[in-house]
Symmetry: C2
Subunit: 89 residues, 2 copies
């Protein structure tokens, strides 16, 4: 159902697919071990975005964020994405 | 209480402090608008890490991840961090 326009906040998490090599994560793992964190087993690095958008319904906002992820925010060849949507106002 | 060693997964979110300028987020905002997403109001870019570590208790794991964040993963001058901890095994 469409109501008045409201602000939605999408918290978007982008991660490399599990089979994809992650040199940034491996470098951070090495750094943590050098600092004495010997119990660290693995580090995977990803991206996090907070996107605010004006939409008239949660389902429209959901569809828009999905399209943003697949067209710009994530590279679907090597990355997965997920997001949480909440109404701000 | 200390038990046998278990694997903990920390999901770490690093964000720029609200007062800090975010050129990456602004570039992404411009890109989204160029693609026709006219309802987007703002984008803030951050980092996301999945860290696996072996610890004997959740409180120890919590303390370790906190230290990792403040010593290596985040820059406390310009960034905030938060994390969620869960037991994997």
């Amino acid at each position: 159902m469409d109501g008045p326009v409201a602000v939605y906040l999408a918290k978007v998490y982008i991660t490399l697919k599990p089979s994809v090599n992650d040199p940034q994560g491996q470098t951070i793992l090495g750094g943590l071990r050098s600092l004495g964190f010997g119990t660290v087993q693995s580090v995977r690095a990803g991206k996090y975005f907070e996107v605010r958008l004006d939409e008239s319904s949660e389902s429209k906002a959901n569809a828009k964020v999905k399209e943003m992820c697949s067209r710009l925010l994530a590279n679907p060849i090597v990355e997965d994405y997920r997001f949480e949507l909440s109404k701000v106002t």
